[in-house]
Symmetry: C3
Subunit: 104 residues, 3 copies
């Protein structure tokens, strides 16, 4: 999606991460690209950042397949333009807190 | 690849994204890393950015396997040094705006 | 992991990349996210960067499965909190040096 895409008054990527947290997903992280194009072939370029301020945003969300599948319809209608992909991964470490021995 | 790699007068990553758009690929986005090393084990570090200005660049390109396979030889010879990987993903949403009901 | 996580006096992500290089892995790159949450649902936000300076960090490490599997225990105990995932990819180009004909 683009950095300027909104959901209400929030940037769309912030809203999606907020939704992911509220729905109890395991993790979500947003990254800002420096250049790119998507569905409509508009070129987002870091060089015109000062003018356009609409760089591409990638959000990675991690959880079990069924949790992801249930989450997609929640955010679907809020995305005016973008690309969503699913990848199969294996979670090898998921650890919270200050203590280092709580692997699960 | 590195941020300073060039193709002619263009940064290599800009040229690759331009090529991807010209060849009609579905999407491409470049990200700048803050540290890394690749094939020759040179360490690219954000801390020496002001000096070196050669941080690692990752480009993600999304399309059907055959489109990607046809595209790789086009950019192959322009990449003096780097790593290219293929991953199998599933496209779940590919939408160009402004109307929100044009999913395909 | 978070940008402020440390291993000794080094940022944790720098230490992991250093370890990956010392153990001869093919490549590693760190990326800084602009927002996210992980195992403990703390929200890392770019907007509070000036205050918190603890944005999410993603490290991508590429090598054969057995090399990755041997490497995970080396870094495991140094990660107080975080998420590690494995993905199957195919390496299509791995090229070092200034000459463009050393693909392997």
């Amino acid at each position: 999606m683009g950095e300027r895409d909104k959901h209400g008054h929030l940037p769309l990527y912030e809203w999606i991460i907020q939704q992911a947290r509220e729905h109890g997903l395991a993790g979500a992280t947003a990254f800002r690209g420096i250049q790119g194009f998507g569905a409509h072939s508009r070129l987002h370029t870091a060089k015109i950042l000062r003018l356009a301020d609409d760089l591409p945003i990638l959000i990675e969300i991690v959880d079990a397949k069924d949790k992801i599948e249930s989450f997609l319809p929640i955010i679907d209608e809020a995305i005016p333009e973008g690309l969503a992909t699913l990848e199969k991964i294996e979670i090898r470490l998921y650890r919270s807190g200050p203590s280092a021995d709580t692997t699960c």
